[in-house]
């Protein structure tokens, strides 16, 4: 008798948790960005690239790779900005493509720490962005309202 009561209690608790979770996931309509794949940005310095024509050529080559959404190569600053799908093309693949078979020295862009007075001090979220994004993906996966929106 006691065993049955304990099992009912657990089942009830599980049902309540499931209901709460589904309510949280379905409370709002999904966002438009939830429907598109996530990209990552890679910022690299391309040492030795000084010819603008060669930079355009390299830009076209990298842009044509599967998984690259946009590529911008500047000979003036020897800088490359690549937006790509990380699951299709890793940062290492991007580096390899930009080096053009070892012709250029591709390194990480050195970071500049801004001065406190010059940098815009916009409001910052105290929760790590990675956590927020992961939570968003979970919410979208269980949001049944997405089936009723045509994007």
């Amino acid at each position: 008798m006691r065993r049955i009561r304990t099992r009912s209690l657990f089942l009830g608790l599980f049902a309540a948790l499931l209901l709460s979770f589904m309510t949280w996931a379905n409370w709002q309509e999904p966002n438009l960005h939830d429907y598109v794949p996530v990209t990552t940005v890679t910022l690299l310095r391309v040492g030795g690239l000084t010819d603008p024509a060669r930079a355009r050529e390299l830009e076209r080559h990298v842009s044509s790779l599967d998984g690259v959404t946009t590529c911008n190569v500047s000979a003036k600053n020897q800088l490359a900005v690549v937006m790509h799908y990380a699951d299709q093309l890793s940062t290492a693949d991007v580096r390899r493509a930009l080096s053009a078979g070892g012709a250029y020295a591709v390194t990480a862009q050195p970071t500049e720490i801004p001065q406190a007075s010059a940098a815009p001090a916009g409001p910052q979220c105290p929760v790590p962005a990675g956590y927020v994004l992961a939570l968003e993906r979970v919410r979208f996966a269980f949001n049944l309202r997405r089936f009723f929106v045509k994007v």
Partner: protein, 167 residues
């Protein structure tokens, strides 16, 4: 007897026949064509995403130039990217997709911060804002968006200027 037994069936069948035959008249009616929204004319979510990705790439590239109008505004973002933290760029991208989608008349709303709150204490100047609009316009051109749609979108987003500049 037979007719009495099946009277209800005949009645219902007759009613259905009359109803469906009356419905044929509706087919002749001309349904007025609903004009396509800017969101549809732009190419919906995939096209907006392509523009936003191109735009972010251009903005980051612009910050590498000397002089740069956008470096001051985007320096914290660039610092994060330089240390391998791309989440902030992803958040910016997501917000831009949602905002452009809503501004263009898309099916979903932007649920992020208001422009005033998002740009509070950032002291964005008019040249910085204009430089951003120029990058957006270039991204739209490169993605094959026609001039009419480009002007319409830039016009809609330009309306946000008072909430962004000088906050």
């Amino acid at each position: 007897m037979f007719l009495r037994q099946y009277s209800l069936f005949f009645l219902l069948a007759g009613a259905a026949l009359v109803t469906t035959s009356c419905g044929d008249d509706d087919d002749d009616k001309v349904i007025p064509a609903v004009p396509a929204t800017l969101y549809e004319r732009l190419g919906k979510a995939p096209a907006i995403t392509a523009v936003v990705d191109d735009f972010i790439g251009r903005v980051v590239a612009e910050t590498g130039r000397t002089p740069s109008n956008l470096k001051r505004t985007f320096q914290p973002l660039l610092t994060a990217v330089g240390t391998g933290d791309t989440y902030r760029v992803t958040l910016l991208r997501n917000n831009l997709i949602d905002q452009i989608g809503e501004a263009a008349g898309g099916p979903l709303i932007y649920k992020g911060k208001s422009m005033k709150l998002a740009h509070k204490d950032m002291n964005i100047t008019l040249p910085e804002f204009t430089a951003l609009v120029v990058q957006l316009d270039s991204a739209l051109i490169d993605n094959g968006v026609p001039k009419a749609e480009r002007d319409e979108l830039v016009g809609v987003l330009g309306g946000l200027r008072p909430d962004i500049v000088g906050q």
